[in-house]
């Protein structure tokens, strides 16, 4: 089962390379995604998923992240056939194969409970995303891909160095060096403190780079700005989820080793810095896809901030992981439609989206309210829970900063979003031939429905998953 979960998308990627019919190739992605989602559901119901002597397993954190990533990917895969029909002549073979490889590697990151294997999967995932980012094959997407790979490669290298330090922490104490997370958590109290301390910093910087936390976020605006919207959704909702999960694993080890207080302080500080950087750069942002990138920086900040506060905020942060990933899907897919319809992503040209593409414009506007935590959307519920957690733990200063930053983001992002959706489209705008259709609007609408549903009512099975994951991290 554990092997099938990543092997099915991997075989799908192989099939995408081999299939000689370009018209049917995009449907392979949809098929692979559906099969993956079905397997995930079976795995969750089945319970006991293990392979390779514990190298692959599902703990409560994975049981939350895996269905999330799979659902998001499925929604995005519904967008693929229509998108590639619009972009005929592009490198679709590579694109479809890379998408499925991306899914396989995300699954492997989530499933792997071995330090080295997880790292290898993350590296492979980065390589798989390069052709996705370079899909447009122009100078700007090339620049974005170059930055993404170089910054990502440094992050991955630091993560490896951190992993070696962590292994040394075990070696130093004369422990049997197992690189399985469960063993490391169990051995936590005996690990050599100075090595563990340094290891956590390196791992935090390394995986934090992949997550796009400030100040390691420099790749994000370029990558999200130039990538196809669907790839932006997968990076902002999928890859960042996986990187966050990796961070949580190391936090878990540090906490078990008695270094939790330091880790939490670091997370609160970096969380607030990320929120501030996002807030500052979102204001007056004229490129609405870059705006979404800074929004992602902000929300990554909120995630680590919630974990740093702990207690109720841990539950809030894990709920926010779900809310943010789905909302980012809504935003990026609708932004992609607006981008296509206007042939531009700058507010100088893009005005009156509600008139030109009414459905996409409305979804984009709704997505804006969701992402800035307005009721009745899911992020409202999760951010409110994090805020309550801050009050419960007595972190009033942090709570005040959080509220101020969330307000600045709302005002700054609102300016850009409103100028995109309102008003009249520029009269001289060339016809791009893009109109709202089931294929382009449906996936975003599906995700928006989920965001609204989770805002109004968290279904008990999902709530159980979040509660178990929070209890796993924070047993107190």
């Amino acid at each position: 089962m554990a092997i099938a979960l990543f092997l099915v998308p991997l075989l799908g990627a192989l099939a995408a390379v081999l299939v000689p019919w370009p018209r049917w190739r995009p449907w392979l992605v949809t098929l692979g995604a559906a099969a993956h989602l079905a397997l995930v559901v079976v795995a969750l119901v089945d319970g006991d998923v293990q392979a390779f002597g514990g190298w692959l397993a599902l703990d409560p954190l994975d049981r939350l992240a895996l269905p999330l990533v799979s659902t998001l990917f499925f929604a995005c895969s519904l967008y693929v056939p229509t998108y590639l029909a619009l972009r005929r002549g592009g490198p679709t073979r590579m694109f479809c194969a890379a998408l499925l490889l991306f899914l396989a590697m995300m699954t492997l990151i989530i499933e792997s409970h071995h330090l080295g294997l997880m790292w290898v999967a993350l590296e492979a995932n980065t390589l798989a995303s390069a052709p996705l980012l370079y899909f447009n094959r122009n100078a700007r997407s090339l620049e974005a891909t170059w930055k993404y790979i170089l910054v990502g490669a440094v992050g991955i290298a630091l993560a490896l160095l951190g992993s070696l330090f962590l292994a040394y922490a075990a070696l130093r104490s004369g422990l049997e060096t197992s690189l399985l997370f469960d063993d490391l958590v169990r051995q936590g109290p005996q690990l050599s403190k100075p090595w563990l301390h340094t290891a956590f910093v390196l791992l935090f910087v390394g995986y934090g780079t992949k997550m796009g936390l400030a100040p390691m976020h420099s790749w994000k605006p370029d990558a999200y700005g130039e990538a196809p919207g669907l790839v932006g959704a997968l990076l902002a909702g999928g890859l960042t989820t996986c990187a966050f999960l990796a961070l949580l694993r190391f936090y878990h080890i540090a906490d078990a080793a008695g270094d939790g207080a330091f880790a939490r302080e670091l997370m609160i500080a970096i969380g607030l810095v990320s929120m501030a950087v996002g807030a500052v750069f979102m204001a007056r942002q004229r490129d609405f896809k870059r705006m979404l990138a800074y929004s992602s920086v902000e929300h990554m900040g909120i995630l680590v901030l919630g974990i740093g506060i702990g207690g109720l905020a841990t539950y809030g942060a894990l709920l926010h992981l779900v809310a943010n990933a789905l909302t980012k899907g809504v935003m990026f897919l609708s932004a992609a439609n607006i981008h296509r319809a206007f042939g531009s992503k700058h507010t100088d040209v893009v005005r009156g989206a509600l008139r030109r593409v009414p459905a996409s414009g409305a979804i984009f506007l709704a997505g804006f309210f969701a992402v800035t935590a307005s009721p009745p959307f899911a992020p409202f519920l999760s951010e409110l829970t994090i805020l309550r957690g801050m009050f419960a733990s007595g972190d009033y200063g942090v709570a005040a900063a959080f509220l101020v930053l969330v307000f600045i983001v709302f005002a700054g992002m609102g300016g850009t979003v409103l100028s995109v959706v309102q008003g009249e489209p520029p009269p001289k705008l060339a016809e791009t031939g893009f109109h709202d259709s089931i294929g382009t609007v449906g996936p975003a609408l599906l995700l928006l429905a989920l965001v609204v549903l989770l805002g109004l009512y968290v279904p008990p099975p999902l709530n159980d998953l979040v509660v178990q994951a929070a209890a796993f991290l924070d047993p107190s």
């Binding site: 891909t145 170059w146 930055k147 160095l161 130093r172």
Partner: protein
């Protein structure tokens, strides 16, 4: 029986190459320097182990092939295709980067002396040498402007990490070793392809031209 007293001189060689890399303006020399580092690292893989065994030998051969021959070959090819010889004005002068390198090496030695080492590594240069090499790579990566020199910086950074990995060689499973080497190869490969495209699109390998995306 292999003599472990070769270990420290070899680590010193790596440190000396670090400074050569920091001070040179010739890209060809930088590539040769990183290749030599790769070969020394391969040799170290054998010497770090007390006794001669198959596994370290295999890793050493693979490391020398990839770090010492394959990747430098790819880089030289990219260099020839793009017809450039020298790094243009780096962001900081060579003197400053040498000074930064010296500071980084001192900091690495101080920092490593604070870390409690396992009995078999006490007094050895491997851990401070590894940290110094990682920092040197980072300095080259951030202060040079040519894409190809940045790749050399990244290689040096990876070499430093590989050196750290040698302390854990017995504890780390084979899969991880192979994974590390393969991923290094593939990462540089992809970066190489990208460089190739950059040279076509911009007719130059100057990454400061890559700044149309700004806020």
């Amino acid at each position: 029986m292999v003599v472990t007293s070769f270990v420290d001189p070899l680590v010193l060689t790596i440190l000396v190459i670090n400074f050569l890399l920091l001070g040179t303006s010739r890209i060809g020399a930088a590539i040769n320097g990183s290749a030599l580092q790769g070969v020394v690292l391969g040799a170290l893989t054998v010497f770090v182990h007390g006794a001669l065994a198959t596994r370290p030998l295999v890793v050493a051969v693979v490391a020398i092939l990839i770090k010492g021959a394959l990747i430098p070959g790819m880089l030289r090819r990219a260099l020839r295709d793009a017809a450039i010889r020298r790094e243009i004005e780096p962001l900081v002068s060579y003197m400053t980067s040498l000074l930064l390198g010296a500071l980084a090496t001192a900091a690495a030695i101080l920092f490593a002396s604070d870390l409690p080492l396992a009995p078999e590594h006490v007094g050895s240069l491997v851990v401070p040498g590894s940290l110094a090499t990682v920092l040197t790579g980072f300095i080259i990566l951030t202060t040079r402007r040519k894409a190809i020199t940045q790749v050399v910086g990244y290689l040096v950074l990876e070499n430093g990490i590989f050196l750290m990995g040698l302390t854990l060689h017995e504890a780390m499973p084979f899969l991880v070793e192979v994974g590390v080497l393969l991923d290094l190869l593939v990462a540089i490969f992809v970066i190489g392809i990208v460089i190739n495209h950059i040279s076509r699109e911009f007719a130059s390998l100057d990454v400061t031209r890559l700044e149309s995306l700004r806020d």
